[in-house]
Symmetry: C2
Subunit: 152 residues, 2 copies
């Protein structure tokens, strides 16, 4: 093998890394209006779908660890977007629920997906392409999360 594979341009992972950061940045103007960050937006997304989730359930849905989510949820609690309470049936668990303020942000967030998809669809990129990309990334996510489990 020659050096060709060590060229930045031939790396597949770099575009994923860059696109991720740039997409987060594309969300920023919309999320700024709501006073939240992209990871906080993800937490809201899962809580708009589920009235009540434990910290552990959120980590599973967002593929983030508790050491990332715990401080993040605390910040969101301080912003009065959600409440954190110990479970009564299992004192180890912390149950997260949206406040009225958190629930109400849902309306404000509604137009965001449409704005984003407008940016990401082009002459060369159709919806079908996006769906295909989504499938591939999800398969990678499955592989890579399984990999991590195997290490334990």
């Amino acid at each position: 093998m020659d050096d060709a594979q060590l060229k930045l341009s031939s790396q597949v992972c770099f575009p994923v890394y860059s696109a991720s950061r740039l997409i987060t940045k594309a969300y920023k103007p919309y999320l700024d209006e709501m006073g939240i960050t992209y990871p906080q937006y993800l937490v809201l997304l899962v809580l708009w779908e589920n009235d009540s989730l434990s910290v552990n359930q959120i980590t599973e849905k967002l593929l983030l660890n508790t050491n990332t989510l715990s401080p993040l949820l605390k910040r969101m609690e301080k912003m009065e977007l959600l409440q954190r309470n110990r479970s009564e049936t299992d004192e180890r668990s912390v149950i997260v629920q949206l406040t009225e303020k958190g629930k109400n942000l849902k309306d404000q967030a509604k137009p965001i997906p449409e704005q984003l998809i407008k940016i990401l669809l082009t002459e060369n990129i159709k919806i079908s392409d996006v769906l295909q990309l989504k499938e591939m990334l999800n398969e990678w996510i499955t592989i890579l999360t399984e990999d991590n489990k195997n290490l334990e």
Copy 2:
């Protein structure tokens, strides 16, 4: 645009975000052996290709800002992987060059791309699919970096 399409952005942006983190994690065991992080690996990649680059040239290649790269490069200088020197022709510029130690890491890094691609290729995902994904992400990167320039 129907509901399914509205949710599309969250359905595709989140996988990009998650895949990026998981891929970085997949690199970790290999990079740990070299004592470097993924962003530091990216810096090495561009410096293995270019003997001498200014900080600004690196920011353009990696799409990172100076406020991210400056401390990162300082850490790499402390690790004796590279040198930072003011340009003689333009005192504003800082020229970055690899040390022998930095250059020598190239051999150790050579097997990494192959290892990674082994993980990412499956029954359902062929090399041609990966290349297609790369094309799409690169188009998004073009769009999103152009977007940022327009804001200035």
